[in-house]
């Protein structure tokens, strides 16, 4: 009895000794910075940065000075704090958000057959390429909602996903999951989007969906900024978000109502005591909404102004501000 106690006790003591020495000799000191950086990262482990999760990305940021700021979910303020922690400047890309390019709701887009099966768009896509009459439209079973790590996309009552702009971090998980490739990432301040990706001819399209793009090209022709690109594949034109000034002319001209604007930009006014009458704004305005005499004070015709902001950017005296701003 006593022998056993000594033998087992002795083995235990020896093992503890070896482990204790090993723990001291081979200890790996974690960089405390890693924990601090990890605290600042969103912690959703969405994988958009290309690393296995937030911890792996924090490790890479601290250990490898060449690691770019690949996290799409941090805002500029947090990125600044991470920069100061690391002691190096990080380039932060402008925030992106998911944009769902289909407006074919339950009421406006028809079905070819009734689908019975798993409620996952990818599974529904396996059955004859999806039950919707339009081969490109949103299937509406909510795979994007299910995969979103930020709870930023919800299925609306009309059967289409709605992106919660405040929560969406542009990680792109939904973009990869959507079997129809409808979702793309756009800059967060891009507010105009043509919400259709159908390559069908206008005739086929009209049979399948009440609202889809019929490629009439009215929007392309009306755009004063040349911001709507015609693609080679014969599909709907795509809005170049870098060139778009959100004047919403295309929104008004679209006969199908498939171009969407989230928030109409504020119109502009001219601060009288700053205006020197240089006439640059008059020349630059695509809508002929600014008038006045050189050397005098120019005025904005609010009925004509569409808030594109070209004049705001060009004014050398910062004399043009948005209506509502000081």
């Amino acid at each position: 009895m006593l022998d056993a106690v000594f033998v087992i006790g002795g083995v235990g003591f020896l093992a503890a000794l070896v482990l204790g020495i090993a723990a001291v000799t081979f200890a790996v000191k974690p960089d405390p910075k890693e924990a601090e950086v990890l605290d600042l990262l969103p912690g959703a482990n969405c994988g958009a940065c290309g690393y296995a999760g937030c911890a792996a990305f924090a490790h890479a940021l601290v250990q490898d000075p060449d690691t770019p700021m690949a996290c799409t979910a941090v805002d500029a303020d947090t990125a600044q704090r991470i920069s100061s922690l690391l002691g190096r400047e990080l380039d932060v890309a402008g925030p992106m958000v998911a944009s769902v390019r289909c407006m074919g709701s339950k009421d406006s887009a028809g079905s070819r057959f009734s689908y019975v099966g798993p409620m996952d768009c990818r599974a529904a896509q396996l059955v004859a390429g999806g039950y919707k009459a339009c081969g490109y439209g949103c299937l509406g079973l909510g795979t994007c909602e299910a995969v979103c790590p930020f709870d930023a996309i919800h299925m609306g009552a009309d059967g289409l996903p709605e992106v919660v702009l405040e929560r969406c971090t542009g990680c792109g998980t939904c973009v990869d999951a959507c079997p129809r490739g409808i979702i793309r990432l756009v800059p967060k301040d891009a507010l105009v989007e043509l919400r259709c990706v159908s390559l069908d001819s206008p005739k086929v399209m009209k049979g399948a969906c009440d609202i889809g793009c019929i490629k009439c090209m009215l929007c392309v022709n009306v755009c004063p900024f040349d911001a709507i690109d015609v693609l080679d594949n014969g599909g709907p034109p795509v809005i170049d978000q870098d060139k778009c000034h959100r004047c919403s002319l295309c929104v008004d001209v679209c006969p199908r109502g498939v171009i969407d604007i989230y928030r109409v930009p504020q119109k502009v006014r001219i601060v009288e005591d700053r205006c020197i009458g240089c006439s640059i704004c008059d020349q630059v305005c695509p809508f002929d909404a600014i008038s006045g005499e050189p050397k005098g004070v120019y005025v904005v015709d609010l009925d004509r102004c569409r808030g594109c902001g070209l004049c705001v950017d060009k004014c050398p005296k910062d004399a043009i501000v948005r209506v509502g701003d000081a």
Binding site: R112, F113, S114, V116, G117, P118, D120, R122, A123, L126, V127, A128, G129
Partner: protein, 441 residues
């Protein structure tokens, strides 16, 4: 009686067409011959709009070894290579549309009469290949590929599959009763090609009349085996297990265990191709189910639109609700009446609305019935729960890819879970991921 582990016993429903002799379906004005009617590499159309074609003329050229050509079902004018719905995928697919001229004139040189037993194996295989023969049980795997095993995998056992375990279907049954000689001669040709001295014809015990006929017609070298009536007895791997007591390894092919299985209809087509030069342009199929007015076994040309077949069989009952190509277990529901009959259309089943269950599924209650039913020894309960969450990586650990999609699990599930659909969904995700990986490397 010989059988395998697992499986289910759905109602056979074979009585609808059991006693109906095969009738030839008359010519129709328009044929849509899909270019892709096989598993494997695509084929390239050889004709264009305005061409005149003769019955049996080759319409497409296979691109690759695992591929098959298609042939004109009748003589006429090509309207064009158009986009038609493929009944298997449900997607648009190129097909040669032929306006029949009604003369049904054969292409030059066929049919002829030769003794194929005087030819050697490679010549016969190339003839089978140019005749566009594919597995007619429904999987449509090109037959010449099965007949060309690599040197290190010699085939020592050949099974003619006359099991027809899908409920409702009776086309192979009628073919065995009415034209046993074509099947036997085709089987003997396969034996000749592979240098085999014996073969087995496998038939389920619900077709004892066919067993008798085949025994009468088969020479001593071909044995007829009677199998337990159980679904999926006709599945290749289950058949090999039952007859030869050999197990095809996971991810493997029958040739890995030295076995070859050909459907009875395929054997008949092989005989026609080799002895008379007739390519695969028609097949026997059962048009059945309570939703069709006159169930029939018909000999129909490949490319015949579904609408014409339905009309020939008296039309649909008023409350017909679902049209399925194939049987009720593994068949594919159709959403258009314009789809054409293909080489793999083993049956056309029409169900009435009261026979179609559209109830939604509920949570898995872990009853384990699917585990008992699975003929592959998988765990469908685990797979279906993983499928609900799209967890295909975990499902691979549970041998996801070994599922033969027979539907036995979904048939017995008391929660009406679409288990096979979950599994297909995960298989698609896994294939997509491995394709992406391959691209990245």
């Amino acid at each position: 009686m010989l059988s395998f582990r697992g499986g289910i016993h759905p109602p056979g429903m074979k009585h609808l067409v059991r006693d109906r002799a095969i009738v030839d379906m008359p010519l129709v004005p328009l044929y849509r011959v899909l270019v892709q009617q096989h598993i494997g590499a695509p084929a390239k159309p050889l004709v264009k709009a305005g061409d005149t074609v003769k019955r049996g003329q080759m319409l497409s050229e296979p691109l690759g070894f695992v591929s098959a050509s298609v042939h004109a079902p009748t003589s006429g004018k090509v309207r064009g290579v158009e986009n038609c719905i493929n009944p298997v995928t449900g997607l648009g697919s190129p097909c040669v549309v032929i306006e029949a001229d009604g003369e049904d004139a054969w292409a030059e040189g066929i049919p002829f009469d030769v003794d194929p037993f005087s030819m050697d194996g490679s010549e016969l295989i190339s003839r089978i290949r140019s005749s566009g023969i594919v597995g007619m049980g429904g999987a449509t795997f090109p037959s010449h590929v099965k007949l060309s095993p690599p040197r290190d995998k010699p085939i020592d056992a050949f099974i003619v599959n006359g099991v027809e375990c899908e409920p409702y279907l009776g086309a192979d049954h009628r073919l065995m009763l009415e034209e046993p000689q074509r099947i036997v001669l085709g089987a003997r040709l396969v034996m000749h090609i592979l240098g085999l001295s014996v073969a087995v014809v496998a038939i389920e015990a619900n077709k004892l009349d066919a067993v008798e006929v085949m025994r009468k017609n088969a020479p001593g070298s071909i044995r007829v085996e009677v199998l337990d009536v159980k679904y999926p007895q006709g599945a290749e791997k289950q058949l090999i297990k039952a007859i030869l007591d050999r197990e095809v390894p996971p991810g493997g092919l029958p040739m890995d265990v030295g076995a070859l299985v050909h459907n009875a209809g395929t054997c008949a087509a092989i005989w026609d191709a080799c002895s008379r030069g007739i390519p695969l342009i028609e097949r026997v199929t059962s048009v059945t189910g309570s939703g069709i007015r006159e169930p029939k076994n018909i000999r129909v040309r490949v490319g015949t639109p579904l609408r014409d077949v339905i009309d020939f069989c008296g039309g649909l009952q008023e409350d017909a609700s679902k049209v399925i190509f194939g049987g009720p277990m593994m068949g594919i529901a159709q959403y258009s009446m314009d789809v054409p009959v293909t080489k793999g259309t083993s049956g056309i089943l029409v169900l009435r609305s009261r026979e179609v269950d559209r109830s939604s599924y509920t949570s898995c209650i872990s009853c384990g019935r699917c585990v008992d039913a699975c003929p592959m020894g998988l765990l469908p309960n685990v797979l279906s729960r993983l499928g609900e969450r799209s967890m295909w990586e975990d499902a691979l650990e549970y041998n996801l890819m070994d599922c033969i999609e027979c539907g036995s699990c979904a048939y017995v599930c008391p929660a009406y879970r679409p288990i096979v659909h979950f599994i297909k969904h995960m298989k698609a995700l896994a294939r997509e991921a491995s394709a992406k990986k391959r691209q990245a490397v």
